[in-house]
Subunit: 241 residues, 2 copies
């Protein structure tokens, strides 16, 4: 029943708006691509930034190009504890009311009111795979991770887009370390796409549905008996006449 | 079906042997208890140590007293990456061939050949709970974590001991951050203690067993039909005579 898909592990990184790029690196500055990423058009940049929070800071944080409409900083919950911040778990782009953070670049410092999140784990899915597997955009999937730290990720949001060239589970480094996963490792995607069916319910249903099936079968047998008895009575009545 | 149990989150910490305590803090040094832990007799110490690896170091690492037969250092996989080491995932006390590490104290530095591990998640279970729930020492359990980052921890080793005063899931900070759990949070322990039944198999069985049940029910109905037809034939034969 499960389908093998690849894993992509995201380290902490920053997407910059054109305005914030200039504020941190100077007027008309252009990012320098260093390496292409699995999502077409996205690249790791040579430039790095410093993140500062009330309790700590992190140097050499990666920037992902090209620039975006809004600045978005993705860290792990573990990073949040070190920085002394409490970023919400959000999908990319869902930034309203997210955590404030300070970015420090070679030409300036930015105190942002929002933009810091922990990326919600998700699956980038090709349109073809979505059709084949019966998933729609924003469905929730379940992913089974095998191995010595095996676990099941529940509530994995599916993101279907014509831009996706591969179906891939995207997790952060906290999740990767917890499950002993690295980029390229295979995991099992369950073909269950009902938002209401979560693991706990599934396991409970495991018993419930069996009971219901047995009840239904017993009801069938009783019905069948009644029909047979009724037929016998008809035959006997005819024979007696 | 599931049973609510409490969570205990372990931050990185060190257990010292009497010899290593002296090597790091000086002759006849005694650890200073700061706070009692949930496991009776164990306490957090005022003293702290520095851990050094080939790629980085960590200061102010907690020491758990009292001293133990062997020195054991428990860190997360994330810590391992920062230190540049690759500690195995092990149960407490299982230290043969574990990762080398350097400890630095106020009176000395120790280059250990082994002792560094990532603690395997486990459940401390009281003997009473073990009897009630049908678990034995070293069984594997499954734990469902509810909430926005809900997941199922598979292969959670059960440790039954007369010393345990509460049944508690013990995880490290990587696992806690991944599941958005903190000490005291409740999780659901599944009453499934068959080492061979893991989540994946359970989900597959969900369909397999239903098919088998339906087949069995159909077979029952067919058998019942045959019996009825045979009875009818007997009655008809007798009536005809």
């Amino acid at each position: 029943m499960p389908v093998l898909i690849s894993t992509g592990v995201s380290a902490r990184h920053i997407h910059l708006s054109p305005e914030h790029l200039e504020a941190l690196f100077g007027q008309d500055y252009a990012l320098t691509p260093k390496r292409e990423l699995s999502i077409p058009g996205q690249y790791l940049c040579k430039e790095r930034l410093r993140i500062e929070g009330p309790k700590g800071s992190m140097d050499n944080v990666a920037i992902i190009g090209p620039t975006r409409f809004r600045t978005q900083i993705e860290i792990t919950s573990s990073d949040g504890i070190k920085l002394g911040v409490n970023p919400p778990i959000r999908l990319s782009g869902d930034l309203d009311g997210s955590e404030p953070v300070t970015l420090v670049g070679p030409k300036g410092k930015l105190e942002l009111d929002e933009g810091l999140i922990v990326a919600m784990r998700h699956i980038h899915m090709t349109e073809q795979n979505a059709t084949e597997l019966g998933f729609r955009h924003k469905d929730y999937a379940m992913v089974i991770v095998p191995g010595p730290r095996s676990l099941v990720f529940d509530h994995v949001v599916v993101r279907v887009s014509p831009e996706n060239v591969a179906t891939e589970l995207h997790i952060d480094t906290d999740e990767a370390n917890t499950a002993s996963l690295k980029t390229g490792d295979k995991v099992n995607l369950l073909r269950i796409n009902d938002k209401k069916i979560r693991i706990e319910r599934l396991i409970n249903m495991f018993d419930e549905r069996q009971m219901k099936l047995i009840e239904a079968c017993v009801a069938n047998i009783v019905e069948e008996e009644r029909r047979k008895v009724s037929q016998m009575e008809d035959i006997l009545a005819r024979l007696r006449n």
